[in-house]
Every structure is written in structure tokens, then in C-alpha cells.
Amino acid sequence: MKAVGARLPRYDGVAHVTGRTVFVDDVRVPGTLWVKALRSPVHHADITRLDTSAAETMKGVHAVVTWQDVPLLEYGHLSALGIPADEPLLAKDEVRYKGQPIAIVAAEDEETAMAAVAAMKLDLQEKPALFDVRKAFDADAPVVHQWGNWYPHFEAEMDRRQIRKGDIDRAFADADVIVQGVYRPAAIEHVPVETQSCQVVPEANGRLTIYSCTQALYFSLGVVAAHLQVPLNRLKVVGGTVGGGFGGKVDTATETMCCLLAQKSGRPVRWRWTREEEFLCSSTRAPWHMEIADAVTEDGWILGRKMLTLHDSGAYARFSPYGLTKHSFHHTGAYTIPNLHFDGYVVFTNRVPTTAMRGFGVTSVSFATETHVSRIAEVLGVDPWEIRLKNANRIGDTSPNGVAYADPSTVPVVKALADGVGAKLAPNLQAMTPAAREGDLLPEHLVAQIGNPEDH
């Protein structure tokens, strides 16, 4: 264990500082074609005509690919987890977000590829678009998705992720105060300095070598193989050099399309998104809508929480059902609340599909919970450090989904924060540890909380 705790130099540091690191767009293969995409110029429309013939016959154009060329058009990013497919690789008869790819082209150079895209004829019948998750449930809301406006396929075909724990009615009946709040963090683009990029080289033996900036190599391998309907051993993915991802390079955004173009043209192809495409068409961190009502006592115990979450998935499901699930498991943040009533929906809108970003599903609710705990402290006139430490997760407390904490970090983190900002904690708070609850810290409403870790 020489590495643990040691300050080792980076294995790729010298390559980075000497310009020797080969990122995907730095791979040079003779005869490589440039890729560009025809994308939806509007948020929501029916495609009434797509004519790529002028592009196909253009000098310097080697392949044009539309939905008709994809062996398996729809594949779900989480099919392996039983989440059904909903997103076509290339739009067929409807576009559901601005920037959705409709046709792709591989040409001799970038200029020709751009000209080929400009030569494609696309007729659209524009439809009303939905952007606000709160309006998704209205009777007259535009219908975004083939499944309706929210994801209907949680376990047992539930249309929501729900958590019921303890006795929520009693918690609200016993409360001195109900503190409510609504929290709406916005979408965030990851902005990796390296935009989405991919190169695919068709090998003499019929295999495809895929140079990918993916953060999830084996995942991309599976997605490409499924769309192409080929066994995994026909594909070789070269990855591991990522120019920043932060979650935004988990979706398989470019690899499958480049493979189809390489197959059709028989030439190596290369696609580097422009910064504009990266901003407008790459997936973002989701915007969330969270409504919280907490049942609290005058001395700062949080007895129960009712929460409604609307997770903006954008136009397709991608990873959102998974993100919402994580969100639900963490919806009390760093604190233990024994009585819970949580409903969360994955809502479809005509935005670019959303995805993972650092702490997928959890940062949103951490933000909401921390803000809400401070709000409770303000409403009650109680010290915010005290509320945090009293309700902190302790050994043996259980999470919303019933996992007993073996090594919770709330107490040391809160104490370190207090120390870091120079806040003086009362002696009883300063003496606190994550040890199992007892004495004053085991009020009646928490007694039933202490599970036997062996039970889980």
C-alpha cells in the first residue's frame, strides 16, 4: 500500500505538459472525413419531409445517414437496468428538442460537410413546446413524449418514485411548526473544454475502432453494439483520455453515428462538436423543482418531511429515472428524519435531454435541504449549527430507503465547517460524535429509528 496517502506524481502529467497526450480529436488517420449533423432548428415539430438527395450527390460527400440506416433505431441508455428504450438515434417523424440530430454526413472536409447539411431539405410542422415542469400535468399541456409527459415505468409500472416511511400524519399532527419551501436549481451545462468528439476507423477485418471521449467506455460499447446490432467483438473502443467530462460525457452522443458513417463510407470519420453545439445540443445537469414541507418542533427536531420533486428529464428518459431514484434515497440530505412522504416524477419537456453531473440527483436535494434547514433555524430562532448537529445522521440511524448508517459523516463535517468559519459551538455540541443516539439525542420520535444494522 505504498500509494495510499502518498503524493504521487500524475501518471499522465508529463505527457500533458509536453503536448504529447493524444486526445480523441488529435488522432490522425490519413483519409479521414469530417462529420456534421442536420439538427432540429425548433423545439417541437412533426417532420413532414426530409430530402437528403442533394447532399448525397454533392462532390466530396461520402455518406449521409438518416433513421432509415440505423439497424436498431431506439435504444435506451439504461436498457440494461430494465428501463425501456424511448430515444431514436436520429429523429424519424418527430423532433422533441432543438438541436436533436436528424441526419448526419461525412465529407472530404469541414466546409463540404457544412455545405451538405445546408443542402438538406427539411419540412417541419411546428407544435407547441413544453418547458415548465409544473405545467406538464395540465390537461391542455402539449404532449412531449410517446409515454406522455412523465415517465411511467418505475418498478411495478409506477409513474413515480415514492417513499413512505414511519407515520407522516402523526409527525404533522405533533409538530409545533410546519416550515415550507420551494427550491428550483436551474440546468447547468458541464462545459468541458474538450467538446464532444469521436473518430471511427473501419479496419480491414471489418471491425470498427472507436476513439471516444466517453467517461463510460464499456457503457458506450454496449450502446453502440445494440444500435448497430453487432456482437461486442466487432468493436474496439479506445478511450480513457477525456478532456473534461463532469458527467456530460456519460451519454453516448457521437460514437454510434460515427460508426454508421464509417460503415457506409468505408472511410475513417471524425466528429468534433462546435462550442455552439456543445452548449445547445449536449445534455445538461437537470433543472429540478422541489417542494418541501417539514414538521418541526420548537426546539429544532425535524419530525417529518413531505416532499414533491419534479425532475426535468428533457425530451427523453436517458439516465433520469436513475437520477431521481438516487435523489429520493438522499432526500433528507445529511439529516435523519424518521417520517417521510416523498413523491418524485421524471417529467418530459422539450429541452435537451438531461444527464449526470457530479453527484447525480443528489446535489439538487442537498442544496434544497441545506437551505431548508437554515430556513427552519430562522423560523424557529434556533442556532443553525444546533439544528444541524441535533438532526445529524448518527450510527444506526436509517436513510430514507432504510439503510442503516455505519459511518455517517455529518457530525465531523458540520464541526469542521463551524471551525473553518470560526463559529463557536456550545460545549454540548462541540462534544458531539457520530456515535449511536442516546440520552437527549434520542427523543421519542427517533426511538423506532435505531435499526439493527444486521437487519439490512
Partner: protein, 170 residues
Amino acid sequence: MNLTVNGVAHEVESGPLTSLLDVLREELAITSPKAGCEQGGCGACTVLVDGVARRSCLTPVASVQGTEITTVEGLGSPSDLSPLQQAFTHHYAAQCGFCTSGMMLAAQAYIDGGGSDGHEAIQEAIAGHVCRCTGYVKIIDAIAAVARGDEFDLTVTASSAGMVNLGGAV
């Protein structure tokens, strides 16, 4: 048209308004300058033109005809790292590495211009450069270390100041 890149003279065939970035990357296959935005906003494409840091994506090649271009390959090699290259390695200033070459050339111009180890002056010097990984602190530490004339032990990574120690509990 001709250009000298890292001491090697090149005859260039690209059109005169082709960006210097495209000439370097596509015609000469010198790929350390990166195409992060191609509109001046990120700094990943910065190279030295006669010693001056410049966004190669905004520079028509015709305007730099006959100049000396330096990319990060020209600063030093793996077996002979320049002080700045040593500093970026030692201080962990290159994380994913995509912003690194542009960032280092801005830093090199700053050092060559006699820049001090003052953090504000360094921030000003790299103000046009976006790094999404490091949070800039380690980059600024590395540049300051070179400005001070530090020596670097490349078998370890420097410790960073300002970390909160949570003790054994976490």
C-alpha cells in the same frame, strides 16, 4: 507562405485566411493547441507568436507569415522539462490536460515578461483561459513557483494549502 514552428521551418499550403490553429492542427499535425471554441473564448488554442501569447483560432495565417511560433512541444521534452513544465507537473496544475498547453503558453509569456509571483498579476495573465478541472489554484501556484525560481522534485506532487482536515472521522 512560411512559418517557423518550434524552430522548424514549414511551407504552408492552407488558404491565407485559414486560422493559425487549423494550420497547426490540420496541415502540420501539431495537435497540442486545442480547438476548444474556435471563437476566442477559451484560450485552449493559445500559442506564442514571436514570443507573444495569441489565440491561434482568431489569427489568420496570412497575418503571421514569416513569424516564429512556439507551441508547448517547443518548451521542453519529457526528458528535458522546462521549469514551467516541471512546475505544472509538480503542482498538479494539469488535470485533464485539455487547457494545459494554452495555459502554459500564456504563463510562459508572463514569465518571460518578468512576471512576479503575485497571485493577482498571474490571474490577470491567464484571464482569457478557461480550466474546468483544477479550479485554477494549482495553476496559479505553479506559475508563482516558477516566478520565484523554485526547484521541483518530480517524484512527488506538491501539497496544497487550505484543505480542511476532518481528522480520522471521515
